[in-house]
Amino acid sequence: MDLLNLVFYLFAIITVVSAIIVVTHRNIMYAAFALLFTLFGVAGLYAMLNADFIAVAQIMIYIGGILVLLIFGVMLTSNITGVDLKTGSMSKLQRWIMTVISLLIAIGLAIMYSTTDWVRKDIPEVNSTVDTIGNLLLTDYLIAFEVASVLLLIAIIGAALIARHKTR
């Protein structure tokens, strides 16, 4: 057993187990903290796929930004006194139907992936992907890059406008 394989299984198990906790735990705070481990495991998988920049971006944006935002949301939308911190779910029958459907999707996708004859290319050695990504972003993907920056600006303004108190 190769060490690299062990590391892959470690990250995959961290990701999947904490994702299961995210979707099943009744307490929202525990689900949010389990999401932290899921995102961290996914960042580890990116690092194993030679995607150093994406792994760091995942940690900085998802864990440092989106997860903190979600935890803020949990804090701001649950009553201190009420039982709102415990989240409800659908009826038992609906839950079981959805469990079967998502299991079928996962198993079907897994069978499809493992039986498909993928085109195999040999993987060249790369030291760092950062300068290639930078070159691509400022040449081939320049318009998409600028549109994304405008989108982020609009999202910031829109979020601030929607979330602020109406003073009248």
């Binding site: 796929l49 995942q58 939308t77 996708l109 790369v126």
Partner: protein, 102 residues
């Protein structure tokens, strides 16, 4: 057996189905958003796995960056909407929020 493309794709498939499960069965809007993040992450895993095993094609990484940007923008706007829902309804259960206006 060495780790190949299929292993990463299967992890992505499991994450996708878990995220779909959360989006459909959870009542709390924040938990629906968490399921959405899981789905976006599974898409990103697929992008980057194909980028590596397609001969280290960096364009997959660029697509993943745009997915991360969209996830950040979506989380900010969705959280703002959820806060407004909480202010009006005093709860964030998505299946009870069926009115746009009183």
């Amino acid at each position: 057996m060495n780790i190949g493309l299929e292993h990463y794709l299967i992890v992505g498939a499991i994450l996708f189905s878990l995220g779909l499960f959360a989006v459909v069965t959870r009542k709390n809007a924040i938990l629906v958003l968490m399921g959405l993040e899981l789905i976006l992450n599974s898409a990103n895993i697929n992008f980057i796995a194909f980028a590596k095993y397609g001969g280290m094609n960096i364009e997959g990484h660029v697509a993943a960056i745009f997915v991360i940007i969209l996830a950040a923008a979506e989380a900010a706007v969705a959280l703002a909407i959820v806060l407004n829902i909480y202010r009006n309804f005093k709860h964030v259960n998505v299946d009870e929020v069926a009115k746009l206006k009183d």
